[in-house]
Amino acid sequence: MGQTSQFCTFSLDQLLFGVDLQTVQEVIRELPMTPVPLAPTVVAGIMNLRGQLVTALNLRRQLDMAPGPAGVTPMNVVVRSQDGAVSLLVDQIGDVVEVDEASFERTPETLQGKIRTMILGVHKLDTRLLHVLDVEKACQVGEAVETAAAR
């Protein structure tokens, strides 16, 4: 086995995603959220995480996915980005998995849309594919993301 890396996994709309374990600050259940009127729709709100203000982003919206089923309270994956802590709202939390670098492949060219810009590639797990999220890109909101896409 070659180089390995650890990912914190979660699911979104049946897909398995992973973020580098190093960037994850913590995973928490629902916290009271304050919506921000007029903010980009991706922003779900601001929460108070023990005195630290954390912007929560709706990852489904960020990835241009359909809204989640009603009645399911999303989980918060709090990641450390360049702009401080950001919470990504996901459907369900999975395990921490350790994968071999060798199983990594770049995103296929045929994958288009907003999701392409936010995914670094996939790891081929035994039974399914692990989508590796680009944390910095996923934490960007509004224009910044669009310029990145244009590039």
């Binding site: 009271p32 304050t34 919506p35 921000v36 009127p37 007029l38 903010a39 980009p40 922003v43 709100g45 601001i46 929460m47 108070n48 023990r50 005195g51 630290q52 203000l53 912007t55 982003l57 702009d83 401080g84 950001v86 934490c139 960007q140 909101v141 509004g142 224009e143």
Partner: protein, 795 residues
């Protein structure tokens, strides 16, 4: 980098700042033994540490300075201006080398041979200089050859002894320079001339020889250096503690357990006290940034050939460190400005009968929860004519506008972007970046700048800034079950309209809601609408409910913000919004409420802009007082008075043609000949009813009913100064003052109108005042030629 080097850098930076100040002070009081001694010790400390840490170049430079200082202190030489300059240069050189050390851990490659040479020449300037100079050189040579490692061992081995000796000073003595407080040691070191502390450390009398117990040191003896991050973190934790306390209090109130209540009560007090104290740790005296000014002023004054005496008052006025940082540059700029432009050269001052040395005074003081900082000089004052001329030259205003500006308004022109009166561009100022930047920077932190000046007497710039940005008093309001905080600064009053008053209290100006507040129209902005909080359509269901209006001040405009509920006034801790939300201009930040939930802080100006109460172009406009009377050249924005003319039509006139708005009781109207007039400010004010002037102009003049109104309601009168006379135009209703470029012009549909345009998305007629006055038959006699002329000019 070694911790030891880091400590050395920090300490040296402080020492150098003190050196700057002391040297400048020494210049005014060249015989002060205390000052000289203190300066000598400071340099000595730096030099000693350098030798110990192995920065030979730095040590060499410091050493030459020290030699000179020692001779000065011993009274062998008298301080000259050259010496001060040389010593200050040496301080600069040391500063450069320290920067090099910070960057590369080496003390650079430059050992400043010229500076060393110059200082040496100065050193030999006095009589009998030779032996001492030689001694200095010998000491230097010794320093050059000394083994740094050996020294350091020596110092360390003797260190414990010193600690015992000086006790409290040990806290400050972070760099292992020896400090001892024995006063006689000072004498001893004087005799020993240039012997270096570090060198003498291995000697038996080390503790005494390296005496450096200064007053300043003793003053800071009980302080500890703490990282800002740690303070911020403490602050956050205290915030959390306060929240937990609040929850505990709620909990204990429900409980009947006396013990719990007592404990929570104590907890309450302790938390409050703790919060206050932690808050204080972030406060810094403004003297921290002022301390650089004596040097700045001295150097500048020298390069401008001026003599300036700097006075500072209120150095210990405390401000939050973020604010201190933010006002550093603006203040420095203002001080430089005063030196460069404010104070005249000595000859000019003497001609004007003033003392040759100008005075520059900095004064900081608390007032009404804010800090005022005044920078005043006793120079020539602002030259009103020159500012006018420059502003016209630079195309900031037109000549016509300039002639109309009052003195205060002219002063405020200096805050316009691109303004500078300096005839020549010096390295000090005159590059056209200046006061506007000062103004924007100060406004950014919620402050204000204004300037007053008296010809021949001087200029005062007053900067008003809030104490802290971290904690502000705010009003908490609720709108659609969300809480928002409105900073108290922008809040002027609260108005509540009970359910049965709503229908009467809120009127519509063509669909735009307004409230009549003490006779003036207050445009209303619905928070729920602006923030798009209404998911189920506009608030038709709320018609029968009481309305809460928070009257807010954005820029110079007032508006009423309609919210669902007004809760309470609280001190809130401001937390900035993350970058993801920076684009949302309606919020200034967020805060954590007592229940742990986050509430957003409304940005009053942002809301006002969103609701078009003020236009976004304000940043390009002039300051508050003079916005009405000038226009921004780049955008051709102009301010108009909007009013309701005959038949409810929307009309406008440029604000600069207006002298005043008045409300006259109908009973005041009298008739003089054919002219309706009113007594007004001890004069007779002819009144023209706009309705008749516009609509009825086909009638012959004798038929024109100039009777302004039949009704008994007060008249809304626009008083215009025309050709040196006041004329009152009677209109239906005064609506608003707006700023607009009026770029779309449609030909007039009727006489008395210059053109139609779209202002605030409404078709508005711009009235032609000269034409109306002419039509109304006003001034048909003597004023006619003048009127005709101005009518031509207007067309």
């Amino acid at each position: 980098m070694d911790d030891i080097v880091k400590d050395f850098l920090i300490e040296s930076a402080e020492n150098l700042d003190r050196l700057d100040q002391e040297l400048v002070r020494l210049e005014t009081d060249p015989t002060s033994k205390d000052l000289l001694a203190s300066i000598f010790r400071t340099i000595h400390t730096i030099k000693g540490s350098c030798g110990f840490l192995g920065f030979a170049r730095l040590e060499k430079v410091a050493h030459v300075g020290e030699s000179l200082l020692s001779r000065l202190r011993d009274g062998d030489l008298d301080l000259t201006e050259d010496m001060t300059s040389g010593l200050l240069e040496m301080v600069d050189a040391v500063r450069h080398m320290l920067a090099d050390i910070q960057a590369t851990s080496e003390d650079g490659v430059n050992d400043y041979p010229e500076l060393q040479e110059r200082l040496k020449v100065l050193l030999q300037g006095g009589s009998g200089a030779q032996p001492a100079a030689k001694k200095g050189k010998a000491a230097k040579a010794a320093a050059d050859h000394a083994e740094p490692a050996g020294d350091s061992q020596g110092v360390q081995s003797s260190a414990p002894e010193v600690v015992i000796e000086v006790k409290a000073q040990a806290v400050v003595a972070q760099s292992p320079v020896l400090h001892a407080s024995a006063p006689q040691a000072r004498e001893k070191i004087a005799e020993q001339g240039n012997e270096v502390a570090a060198k003498s450390a291995p000697r038996p009398d080390a503790g005494q020889a390296s005496a450096s117990g200064t007053e300043a040191r003793e003053a800071v003896a009980d302080t500890v250096r703490i990282g800002v991050n740690l303070l911020d973190r403490l602050m956050n934790l205290v915030g959390e503690l306060v929240l937990a306390r609040n929850q505990l209090m709620q909990f204990s109130q429900r409980s009947s357990d006396g013990g719990l209540q007592m404990v929570s009560q104590r907890m309450n007090l302790i938390a409050a006290e703790l919060q206050e104290q932690v808050m204080k740790t972030r406060m810094q005296p403004i003297g921290n940034i002022w301390s650089k000014f004596p040097r700045t002023v001295r150097d500048l004054a020298h390069s401008c050939g001026k003599q300036i005496q700097l006075e500072m008052e209120g150095q210990d006025t405390e401000l939050d460190r973020t604010i201190i940082e933010a006002i550093k540059d603006p203040l420095t700029h203002l001080v430089r400005n005063s030196v460069d432009h404010g104070v005249e050269p000595p000859e000019a001052r003497e001609l004007a009968g003033k003392k040759a040395a100008g005075r520059l005074r900095l004064h900081a003081y608390h007032e009404g929860g804010q800090v005022n900082i005044e920078i005043s000089d006793d120079g020539a004052g602002l030259n009103v004519d020159r500012i006018r001329k420059k502003a016209i030259e630079r195309g900031l205003i037109t000549a016509e506008q300039a002639s109309r500006l009052a003195e205060v308004e002219v002063f405020n022109l200096i805050f316009l972007p691109g303004f500078s009166t300096a005839e020549t561009i010096t390295n000090v100022s005159g590059r056209g970046v200046g006061m506007d930047v000062v103004k924007t920077n100060v406004e950014k932190i919620g402050g204000m700048v204004d300037v007053t000046s008296k010809a021949g007497m001087g200029t005062t710039v007053r900067v008003k800034i809030p104490l802290t940005l971290a904690i502000i008093p705010a009003l908490i309001v609720t709108c659609r079950s969300e809480r928002f905080a409105i900073p108290q600064v922008g809040l002027t009053e609260l108005v509540r309209l009970e359910a049965d008053e709503v229908a009467k209290g809120i009127e519509m100006v063509h669909g735009v809601p307004v409230h009549r507040l003490r006779g003036r129209l207050l445009p209303l902005v619905y928070l729920s609408k602006e923030l798009q909080l209404d998911t189920d359509g506009p608030d038709s269901a709320r018609k029968d409910q009481a309305v809460n209006i928070a009257v807010l001040q954005a820029d110079d405009r007032r508006f009423g913000l309609v919210v669902d509920e007004i809760n309470d006034s609280e001190e809130i801790v401001v937390k900035p919004l993350r970058r993801q939300l920076k684009a949302v201009k309606t919020f200034a930040g967020s805060t954590i409420m007592g229940d742990g939930k986050v509430a957003l802080i409304l940005d009053v100006l942002g809301i006002a802009q969103r609701a078009s109460v003020v236009t976004e172009a304000r940043e390009h406009g002039l300051g508050e007082e003079d916005e009405g009377s000038s226009r921004d050249a780049a955008l051709e924005k102009r301010r108009y008075l909007l009013f309701e003319g005959p038949g409810g039509s929307r009309m406008a006139m440029p604000l600069d043609t207006l002298a005043r708005l008045e409300e006259l009781p109908a009973t005041d109207v009298e008739k003089a000949g054919k002219q309706w007039v009113a007594q007004y400010r001890g004069d007779i004010l002819p009144l023209i009813n706009l309705e008749f002037a516009l609509e009825e102009r086909r009638r012959t003049r004798s038929e024109v009913k100039l009777r302004p109104t039949e009704s008994e309601s007060p008249l809304q009168v626009l008083v215009c100064n025309h050709q040196g006379r006041s004329v009152g135009l009677v209109v239906e209703q005064i609506l608003d003052i707006i700023e607009d470029s009026a770029e779309m012009k449609y030909p007039a549909s009727r006489p008395g109108v210059l053109y139609s345009t779209v202002i605030n998305e409404r078709v508005t007629e711009l009235i032609d005042i000269p034409a109306i006055l002419h039509t109304a038959g006003f001034g048909a006699g003597d004023g006619k030629t003048a009127l005709a002329k101005s009518a031509e000019a207007a067309n």
